[in-house]
Symmetry: C2
């Protein structure tokens, strides 16, 4: 009842709506519910033993330094490891072009802080990652949406929105959350050409590109852009250890020009001083000497199987008037119900049948997408996926 | 050379000046320099063995759950531990009135985000904690300053600034950073009475109260306020494990009403989703069963000795026209040079003599304090403190 405070919330607080997704996640954690709702990695792939070894090593060798304050930019050996890792898939950066953040969510927040004034327009895919909308709503962003199809963002629709002078374009080119769709190489090229022509820079959010289960790796938008302009790039690139090692250590990174990194450092000083020293040292010890690359192979195998199990079960159990994506990687499938069906209204009935998903509406900044839903295939074990999809299929056959 | 981005920084970025302090800290880390400049805890008191034991235990018992995503509010056993710990010094809160943050810096940022609109006035002590100014500048805060004396904030000067309808009052009542001064009990009472009369709420930042080396513990401003209003309080209270366990794990907490915590949770979701699960579990395992309280006794002993060594050395070496505070706790001493002397200009000469401090100017939001400087006594070993103060004394005798 702190009424004195109540009158004092900043105007921008009105823009922070409580996350519907989080409410749904509470539902989906009810006992016996098979949940495809979350975006959780499979806990059984976390390299627990390697973390244990790394903790002992860091505490015995670095000792107190691992528990002390440290520079905002991040632990240099970890940034060096990220530099080498990124070079392995086409991104050539220097260590001082790499900034450690407390999860990618913090990177989104810091970029919003640096670049978004109230009323600024930001181009997003429709649907897009909800966490980005959450991060940028409070800075007063307004969204220009570009529809997607099975090849990703419809770049033919970009010129019309770029005419409206947005601050930047936000794109998740690989196995997008939520749609699972990947931006084709042709469209990557179109994207960077249009961005250059209209002088609108790009934020590339790439948590999943290394989790590919079929097809060939595609060059990051940053790499495509750098190639067209001889090394420099107007792309700010984000990635994270959340899906490659573990999310509970909250470690991610930004790759950008030194000038932008310098600004991010300033913003991060005010936000949390620096990301936990200990976690950075641990992640380095776990990931070094090729472990990260070997571990990704394991994740690919397990998640790839789960994707296949889910796709097969959907073929078997889902009615014919339902469509879905066939993602080549990542953690999510996207389901499109017939027009007029509301996935949000359907959810309580699904939970009655002990299965949960996330309705697609909140991923659309323009209020569309009511007949869509997102399914996560990384978290549940194969037999649970089969059972959950059977339950969901029974519901859809009954209700549609 | 990302010129496309360069034109796109948000207006508020202009308010994020690079931290002078951080520049000075780089200087002070030169070889052979005895630095009183940082705000670092003594690394030799970090409970490294206990961290090692806790890491093993958490990874073997909680296992993958310690590496998974977790709720924004924080790990419940840790919040329960904080509840009991706080009750030990006069703060009676429920677990759902306690929010875990990624260091106190994040708490300051989230509160700025919730409460500060551009142009809003905030009451701060002069001098005040630089990190708060850094956090709030980007939200467009303007500052109303209240001078301090040896009993803390001059509450007789408060009515004049409260007339100007500030959003809130920011106070560090115990062994303030940078001045080392403690707010007297009488002034705590005056503060909460005036705040209630003018309907201006309070943020109490309290990283140091448990590090008391002489005198009696004083009730937190929150407790004084709660007593006058029968349990409820208009105070938002911040504290941290940075000085009690270790700063490199980035763990702190906010105590406030459930309504305010709910808003902080929303803001934190957009900022970094949640504080690292692993770190919260580790801190709980390290701190539980009375270890935190026993460890604080050890810190008190070591820091108390260092404070005494520094004060004795200053008595011996400093010229008569220099004054300084005699803090009863915390990590900092405050030195007042004669009027007209500029501590910032003096610093390069100090570094030539291989000793460093932080000039007091940046701690003043109103541009005053040029003749002041801050000395940290927690980080250096006693013999280093004696030597450093002798060097600084020689400089002051020569230059003043």
């Amino acid at each position: 009842m702190q009424t004195i405070w109540d009158k004092r919330y900043a105007r921008r607080v009105g823009r922070m709506q409580s996350s519907i997704i989080r409410e749904i996640l509470k539902w989906s954690s009810l006992p016996d519910v098979i949940s495809f709702a979350g975006g959780l990695p499979a806990p059984e792939v976390f390299p627990v033993k390697e973390f244990e070894r790394a903790c002992s090593l860091v505490l015995s060798e670095a000792g107190p330094a691992s528990l002390q304050y440290s520079p905002t930019e991040g632990f240099i050996p970890l940034r060096e490891m990220i530099r080498e890792f990124s070079a392995g898939y086409g991104i050539h950066a220097e260590v001082d072009e790499i900034q450690i953040t407390s999860g990618s969510q913090q990177a989104l927040d810091l970029l919003g802080r640096l670049f978004i004034d109230p009323g600024d327009k930001v181009v997003v895919e429709s649907p897009t990652y909800l966490g980005a909308l959450q991060a940028w709503n409070i800075y007063g962003a307004e969204y220009l949406t570009v529809p997607m199809d099975e090849h990703g963002m419809r770049t033919d629709r970009l010129p019309a929105v770029l005419e409206q002078k947005p601050k930047f374009i936000y794109v998740l080119p690989n196995f997008q959350n939520p749609s699972g769709v990947t931006l084709s190489l042709e469209r990557r090229q179109e994207l960077v050409e249009l961005a250059a022509r209209y002088e609108v820079p790009i934020i590339e959010d790439d948590p999943y590109s290394q989790l590919r289960y079929e097809g060939e790796h595609m060059p990051p938008v940053l790499a495509v852009d750098a190639e067209t302009r001889g090394g420099e790039s107007n792309v700010i690139y984000l990635s994270t250890f959340s899906k490659l090692l573990a999310p509970g250590i909250r470690l991610a990174w930004v790759i950008a020009s030194q000038e932008i990194i310098r600004r991010i450092v300033q913003a991060k000083q005010g936000a949390d001083l620096h990301t936990a020293t200990f976690n950075q040292m641990i992640a380095y010890e776990v990931g070094r000497d090729g472990f990260l690359e070997r571990h990704i192979e394991l994740i690919r195998k397990i998640y790839g199987e789960r994707r296949d199990v889910m796709l097969r079960a959907m073929d078997e159990h889902f009615p014919e008037n339902v469509r879905w994506t066939h993602p080549h990687g990542g953690m999510f499938l996207w389901v499109i119900l017939p027009e007029g069906v509301d996935a949000y209204e359907l959810l309580p009935k699904a939970v009655d049948l002990k299965v949960a998903y996330v309705p697609g509406g909140p991923f659309h900044s323009d209020g569309s997408g009511k007949n869509t839903l997102r399914l996560n295939f990384s978290n549940a074990a194969p037999e649970m996926i089969r059972e959950g999809i059977a339950r969901l299929g029974a519901l859809l056959k009954r209700e549609l």
